[in-house]
Amino acid sequence: MKVQTVARRTPAGARRGFVVPLRRYGLGLAFLLPALLLFSLFSWWPILQTFIISFQDYSLDPSVPSRWVGLENFRQVLIVDADIAATAWFNVILFVVLGLIVGYFLPVFLAIAINEMRHGNSFFRIAYYIPAVLPLVVVTIMWKYIYTPEEGLLDSVFRWVGLEPVGWLINKGTAMLGLVLMATWKGAGATMIIYLAALQSVPQELYEAAELDGASIRQRIRHITLPQILPVMLILAILQIIGTFQVFTEPFIMTQGGPARGTYTVLMYIYDKLLREYNYGQASAMGLLLFLVLVGLTVIYSRVTKRLGR
């Protein structure tokens, strides 16, 4: 409440010259200064620059000014590079879809189940959370060994129990699935913790009333638990999609985008344009496209959060 009164008084104070505002706001501004400085340099300015560089033939040399090239960069990344760019976008979307199929409901199940456990409750929480604590690079390299065709742990076990070795990362059909499985292994625990927190806020009276009315456990899950955690589920779905669009480290280390670009992602494309071709304009143009997709998703996200009043 206090904050609002201060905010409303602001314009009146600002009108009275400079000395009064400085006395009035000096301390607040001084406290804001470091953040404002950092944000200007490393957030607002680069964000703004995305919209500039994407339309330029960017030059690093200060003596050669950057040239405006209109939509040329976009023509390059969308039409000239069409097959590579399309592959990158397709792969990312495939990653999103597979990730949702394989990994979206798993944490929901884990949270609901673990929340009911009278035995080993905290053991389960920790056991499922451990992969999330490990660094992504560590997990990715380790799984690369596990996935090694024929001789890796997974294929060895497959052969041992009499199945065909899969050769996870060398087949176009399974490489993406391999990445998704690893991502799920790594990510499910942390998501589960968020669901567990959401479950704590489900009113106990609802369960009590339902039980008195003779609702079965399945009915209680369907009509109480799931509707109650639905807002969180929607938010986490969008967050998972946003996160997956930016995937880089996993395919970069595990498959280098292969086989036959089967796991090549949008961010890897940007990386290649940036550090292999030094083509900043085109890298930025692709970045802008990613930017637009992510902002679109974030707008949906904030709509959802606002509507659900969290």
Partner: protein, 305 residues
């Protein structure tokens, strides 16, 4: 069998008196146990495989324990010491710690100050500031990766190349201070500290610094702890940005080292696995120490690092 202080959940203790529910309960319990095996086994496999020769790591049939015939104390434990003591490993460790400290200061100080100003001090156009900070939450840094890269290469107005100052560390540390999320976290925490408390101190003649130092900070231990832990984990685990801006091999972080170590063909994969395990120790230790706080931090913020 149930503890009495347990909050009532989906399945009540009354439900559990029926045999069918009991069977279901133990069935789910076994499934969870099986799942827990799959999360723990790869880690354990990595830990134990560091003790095997490469031919055994990638061998058929798969082994879990190294050289099943040998006793545990006869396993090649030396590999861990060898990797840790080898070449520059400790150096990369310290590099990353150094970087983490820098990023920690950058993540804490400006955000806490801004959060305090937005919560308890008078600032002009507060709504505009909030909006400007809030906007950046919508754009993950990967989306403006390229301009950010060009910015640290050629800082506006002054024209410094941060990538050539101290091995590019400022290019990582300074952007680490940009977190609208942290600002809002601090702000909402400071909002919960009653303004009357601050005003009472002001009336009693306490200076603004004194209010911050003696009243606000002691009350905000938990939010500082959460931001600190997340900041350390984030820096320790970061890969893409250090890959882009650190050019000096002497100063690379542990994650960059692991990436390159794995690519060196002439090194036994057991050594790589040992390196992976050692590099996981700091986050694992941190987790072991602050397990409750980390979990509640994730639940509180909805953010996984």
């Amino acid at each position: 069998m149930a503890t009495t202080d347990r909050a009532r959940t989906l399945v009540s203790d009354v439900d559990l008196r029926s045999t069918r529910t009991r069977i279901l309960y133990w069935l789910v319990f076994s499934v969870l146990c099986l799942g827990a095996v799959t999360t723990v086994v790869p880690l354990l496999w990595g830990f134990l495989s560091a003790l095997k020769p490469t031919s055994e790591i990638f061998g058929y049939p798969p082994t879990f324990l190294p050289k099943p015939a040998a006793r545990p104390w006869e396993w090649q434990w030396g590999v861990y010491a060898e990797v840790f003591g080898g070449s520059q490993f400790v150096r990369y460790f310290w590099n990353t710690f150094l970087l983490a400290v820098g990023c920690w200061v950058a993540a804490i100080v400006p955000s806490a100050m801004a959060g305090y100003a937005l919560s308890k001090l008078r600032t002009p156009c507060k709504w505009l500031l909030l909006l400007l900070f809030f906007m950046t939450l919508m754009v993950p840094f990967q989306a403006y990766l390229v301009p950010l890269f060009l910015t640290v290469r050629d800082l506006p107005l002054v024209g410094w190349n941060l990538m050539q100052v101290f091995a590019g560390y400022p290019a990582i540390i300074l952007p680490a201070g940009v977190s609208a999320f942290n600002i809002f976290l601090f702000k909402s925490f400071f909002d919960d500290i009653p303004t009357s408390l601050v005003e009472a101190a002001r009336i009693d003649g306490a200076s603004e610094a004194g209010i911050l130092w003696r009243i606000v900070l002691p009350l905000s231990y938990s939010v500082f702890a959460v931001v600190s832990i997340f900041s350390f984990m984030g820096t320790w685990n970061d890969f893409l940005w250090p890959l882009l801006v650190i050019n000096d091999n002497q100063w690379k972080t542990i994650m960059l080292h692991l990436y390159q170590y794995d690519l060196q063909g002439d090194i036994g994969k057991n050594k790589v696995l040992a390196a992976l395990m050692i590099a996981s120790l700091p986050p694992l230790t941190l987790f072991a120490l602050f397990q409750k706080r980390i979990m509640s931090g994730i639940a509180m913020t909805g953010v996984k690092f």
